[in-house]
């Protein structure tokens, strides 16, 4: 077994603990309306590849829901293991594509990479959402959801996109960091997929009620005329992209702050440190 395989095996449990510690202790300390429970998952995916990310995400929720003693236990997390696994898988993909590589702001080439990439992501998202909102049949055949009332969620979508644009602008103009924009875009995509995956779980298993602040949002969407499945999806499309964008940025900043020699030892290290010394 090569050295990096052992390293991946050690990284996974530590990342699981990281998920749980950040998702419970730090989340409670800051009381922000984000989950913060996938930092370790995304970190593992980016550093050690899709499979490691998948295992980390899935195991996190299983352990959190069933194995830990009560004060820490989060019984509702169990079924969402599927979502967490998908998040890890996607993070592995983004890491492999090099979206989390630290790029120097002074490199004009990186700017040329980042701007079209961000535009492309925005286009893809606009397309997905516009299809979801304007063509119920098309959306229905893709996701299995029946779409009738999406007025409120259009508003939610605008919120998500505005936050994305603000964060991207802040990264480009203030921090002059083109690489972070790519990580941000990766977070947005992850959040969209996570919302699509977790909506049926939330609706079928929990009836839209998970004991989290999101319940109120689901209730609001239902009061506005959506049925249960639409409401959970709309809530997910609002909070998941926000959470994943912030998480991805955090992971990116951590990776950028790490010594290059440490990063290079992980399986995906080559794709994180790039060719030229920073």
């Amino acid at each position: 077994m090569p050295r990096s395989a052992t390293r991946t095996l050690v990284l996974m449990p530590v990342a699981i603990a990281l998920n749980i510690a950040l998702g419970s202790t730090v989340q409670q300390a800051l009381k922000l309306p984000i989950y913060l429970d996938s930092v370790g998952t995304i970190l593992t995916g980016v550093l050690a590849g899709p499979i490691a990310g998948l295992v980390t995400g899935g195991l996190t929720n299983v352990i959190w829901a069933y194995v830990l003693p009560p004060p820490l236990q989060a019984p509702t997390a169990g079924p969402f293991a599927v979502t967490a696994a998908v998040i890890g898988l996607l993070a592995g993909l983004w890491g492999w594509l090099g979206l989390f590589r630290a790029r120097r702001a002074t490199e004009t080439t990186s700017l040329f990479v980042a701007v079209p990439a961000a535009a492309l992501v925005a286009l893809v998202i606009a397309y997905t959402f516009s299809r979801a909102y304007t063509s119920p049949q098309g959306f229905n055949s893709v996701t299995g959801f029946n779409v009738n009332a999406f007025r409120l969620s259009e508003l939610a979508f605008v919120v998500v996109i505005v936050v994305f644009i603000l964060l991207a602008a802040w990264l480009l103009v203030v921090r002059r960091d083109a690489g972070a924009v790519l990580a941000l875009a990766a977070g947005l995509l992850t959040g969209l997929v996570a919302a699509l995956v977790s909506a049926p779980i939330s609706a079928f298993v929990f009836g839209g009620v998970t004991g989290f602040g999101g319940d109120v949002i689901v209730a609001a969407f239902r009061a506005a005329g959506s049925n249960l499945y639409q409401a959970t999806l709309q809530q997910g499309l609002l909070s998941d992209p926000l959470d994943k964008m912030i998480t991805s940025l955090l992971v990116f900043f951590v990776l950028a702050a790490m010594p290059r020699r440490l990063l290079a030892r992980f399986p995906n290290g080559d794709r994180l440190v790039g060719g030229a010394p920073a």
């Binding site: 050295r3 395989a5 194995v67 009560p70 169990g78 298993v205 009061a223």
Partner: protein, 201 residues
């Protein structure tokens, strides 16, 4: 299902722990009742709320009981003796051991940053500003730990091929074995009955 679990918990003298686990479901229950009862549009009423809650309890309590009565280290040891891969066992065991450590690290970082004047109580914009100073040290500390532990494991030939000798074998009585088979059989019967449509959904 919940009843059965409670009974076996009573037998094992772990009812307290199970009750605490059930208590952990209170926020969900309260939220569920509130939304299903008080919401004029889309609320499913009391029946929906209770059904959703029972489903959740049925899914949660048995596994909770398993880990309340079984020492995780014993379980993992036994799994390894039965041929589950050493690496899978390591990941599970190490994760369980790492949770309290990560928790302690998070508490340390929170307290240290508070001592330096980080605002964790103010407006949400101030709290958002606290995100990076709290998360980054915890993550970097954890990654440093990964480095240390990797080296420690490599030095102890974790990656070497071949089977390991177990120091401790767990007793497995005939009664326990019979109980396992019975439970498996009951599960299969239940599934069959449900598939055949004998019992309700």
């Amino acid at each position: 299902m919940a009843l059965l679990t409670a009974l076996s918990a009573l037998r094992a003298g772990r009812i307290q722990r199970l009750a605490v686990a059930a208590l952990a479901l209170t926020p969900v229950a309260a939220s569920s009742l509130l939304i299903n009862l008080l919401l004029p549009a889309g609320g499913g009423g009391l029946a929906t709320a209770v059904a959703a809650l029972l489903r959740l309890i049925g899914a949660t309590l048995p596994l909770t009981l398993l880990f309340a009565t079984t020492d995780a280290a014993d379980l993992l040891n036994d799994l390894e003796a039965r041929g589950v891969g050493r690496r899978a066992v390591f990941v599970l065991g190490a994760a369980l051991a790492a949770v309290p450590r990560a928790q302690a690290r998070a508490v340390d970082v929170i307290e240290a940053q508070r001592a330096r004047g980080l605002d964790t109580e103010g407006s949400w914009r101030r709290r958002l500003r606290g995100l990076v100073p709290l998360v980054t040290p915890v993550v970097i500390g954890s990654l440093a730990e990964v480095e240390d532990r990797t080296l420690a494991l490599e030095v102890r030939a974790f990656g070497a091929p071949g089977r390991r000798t177990l120091l401790r074998r767990l007793p497995d009585s005939r009664l326990q074995r019979a109980a396992r088979w019975t439970m498996g059989l009951l599960l299969a019967l239940g599934l069959a009955a449900r598939a055949a449509g004998v019992t309700g959904p």
